[in-house]
Symmetry: C2
Amino acid sequence: MKIRLFLLQFVLFLVCFSSLSFAKIPPRFPSSSFVQPENLYFSLASKGNKLYETKYFTQILDHFNYNPDSYQTFQQRYLFNDKNWGGAKTNAPIFVYTGNEGDIEWFTQNTGFMFEIAPHFKALLVFIEHRFYGKSIPYGGDKEIAYSNTSTLGYLSSTQALADYATLIIDLKKNLTATDSPVVVFGGSYGGMLAAWFRLKYPHVTIGALASSAPILNFQNITSPYSFNNIITQDFRGESENCYKVIKGSWKKIEDMAKTTGGLKKLRKSFRICKNYISPDSLVNWLSTAFTYTAMTDYPTPSNFLNPLPAYPVKEMCKAIDDPKTGNDTFEKLYGAANIYYNYTGKATCLNLNDNSDPHGLGGWTWQACTEMVMPTNGNNKESIFPPSEWDYNERVRFCKLILDVKPRPDWITTEFGGHDIERVLKRFGSNIIFFNGLRDPWSGGGVLKDISKSIVAIIAKEGAHHVDLRWSSKEDPEWLREVRAREINIISKWISQYYQTKTDFSH
Amino acid sequence: MKIRLFLLQFVLFLVCFSSLSFAKIPPRFPSSSFVQPENLYFSLASKGNKLYETKYFTQILDHFNYNPDSYQTFQQRYLFNDKNWGGAKTNAPIFVYTGNEGDIEWFTQNTGFMFEIAPHFKALLVFIEHRFYGKSIPYGGDKEIAYSNTSTLGYLSSTQALADYATLIIDLKKNLTATDSPVVVFGGSYGGMLAAWFRLKYPHVTIGALASSAPILNFQNITSPYSFNNIITQDFRGESENCYKVIKGSWKKIEDMAKTTGGLKKLRKSFRICKNYISPDSLVNWLSTAFTYTAMTDYPTPSNFLNPLPAYPVKEMCKAIDDPKTGNDTFEKLYGAANIYYNYTGKATCLNLNDNSDPHGLGGWTWQACTEMVMPTNGNNKESIFPPSEWDYNERVRFCKLILDVKPRPDWITTEFGGHDIERVLKRFGSNIIFFNGLRDPWSGGGVLKDISKSIVAIIAKEGAHHVDLRWSSKEDPEWLREVRAREINIISKWISQYYQTKTDFSH
């Protein structure tokens, strides 16, 4: 049952970088786009104004059972900014970010939207860290223990996380004597799924949710397992047919080259790989990772997710591939594309194929992907930019058994949160959810793309990528992005006005 | 940590029979009114037509965590009647009873309403037993193990029960290839709370809920702890001021008499108590139990809950008390009233003060009342028919520590399911719930008594008692009861029509 931490690091590597070969775990969510401190709007922090205070809440380990063990508690971190808050007396709103699978500071620093709209709404900002990530580690904060075996890791689940958020928010409001302040929840990616689910499950705690790039439908028998890679394909093919063809044709060329005498050495040289060792599989993973994450973070302005990227990086990659200077040299073309993702600053003298660092503490996602977050994304049809392959649930089962000694429950998420037939189910149930999706984001295929009711609405940006709306704004933002954010602000304003109105109605 | 079964039996006794003295656990729900086999409408069963088939489902012990232990399963019992079902091809509806804190056969046999409306709706009937009750015992069905300590009992919780129902229903529909059949859930008392919560938490599994006498608001800081006993007071006082005064005055008279030489013996004789032992406390508990449960089951036709009762038993009790033949003999008057509850058949030659049998397997309720179901009901104000007393949460804490070594979480239910400000919260969230309450039922004070929205509605019967609407109908039923049921049928019909209509809309 013991799982060594290094094994998790290994798994992390597999999860991040192996969408093509043996371990078909879905790509990790990129979760957020990191913005450099020199960003105009990030100057808040650099001017000595702290972006947030750090606080801790004593949280219950197991909300749903009453075993003696489950009465244990842990310290859950949350970040707090009340600079713009109108205060409890005016019932000024509270905006809560429902943290995802990593360090909450990272998400907070990259959710500029909430900081930028706080003054307008006189809102208190709270960013809650997801259990088992960052500094919110059960078992006395000892990650080695918390991640040591399936008994301890077992408490890492989405339902527990949602109950954490409910418990913390209710307690916080009580302590602030702000029980009548409306709460709006925000989240991107997995955090967006949590925000949407939170509104559905805890309507008594939040009046509405902005769920950005939340693929709540990316589960078995709802969304096609080809959807994810089809969108990546379309992103590149949309830039140029040649770009698509070069990438699509490259996999066989790499395989063929690897088989020749001195082929691996030649590949290593072509791609400026640092270490001596190279395998065609790892090269293929390394390249496909670059294409996948570049598609997800195909933002209209320069960004920095795992790596710094220019504006519209897919376009830049295709430019490199289509560059006439590289002639017919496929590897040189692909190197040019990969260099944009892995070395846009140009500082690296060689590229590291096996980077299994985890600066944002995302390692727990493997556990989640092996228990409940079984999101089929690895199918590749004939037209895919990647080699054809089928989503194979049993492969996931074998992988999870091997690595974590755990059995996935592929139907649990839809049992608990629904998903099937969602338009019918929510047409007359629930309210106040915005589902934002950028259609260039491969996860958008598993998102809610149509309005469900008058107040459960879809906002679509044809040119948008993964939760682009939540990023800090920039003078260079295109008009469509400004419009998306304006619509979101407008809708949230309506929720809040309606809340105050209803409050008044019932107190008369 | 070991809890001996006999201790639970003892607790059961305390819970049932001690609303006045030291252990202020709320009265158990009476849950259902038992109907004798000779009932006209019960003849279904007696004619050799089985009322239901018994089936079992392999259920997951812990839905919310992924610890190795929690991957255990247990056999969950459900009862099944498809005699009237229109079948999967026509997407005929499925009516599910969300079982409460006892043997599901008992609830099923007493939920005649579902059997009686099944032919009209061509509905499949399913009655699911609540985990840890009846034959749905985890740990291999061994109640001795399941109830042996807090580690095993820990899995007895309402959230787990709801997830059981979702899992079972989804699986059952799949097996019947009836995934498109609409599901309506029904429940009375705690089962009604579960039905309402199930609709709120699992709208993708059920299209609507009939929650009968479901005191979902009977929690701290929502409903007054005096409410419960105030209603009992009103029930008796409404019959006659004298009846109220005699009962109210009796407690001191019992106390005084007990203090005199030979007083206990005199009391024993007055009340025809079988055993030699008598204490004023146990006599007081015995009497107050009779008044409490008679108020709850103050049905318009003869019934049989724990004991057989005449129609309108409160009226009968007051008749006995007001009977001029008993003159000024308070004890004789009270004996006459108690005799209606404890010996209506007249078969008993003496009355048993300490009956701690548990024929319907309700013993797990103490655990639930000591963990999450902290429902304040024990307050008695000056006007109460019982001696004045305050609801004291700390008393519950001490009791639960002593008996079960467990600490209540008094805020959990409202954190998970809401309750505060319910009208505002559900005004624009959720749909399709009927809250039925009979205002003579002491639990009605914790029920939803006003329409919340167009489709979350309250049906009130001024003369109704605890989930009287779910009982088998009878030729003697008063007009108001017929009307209540007709309204319920009408509303459920609309839910189903709307479901079919929406289904069609989305498939076009």
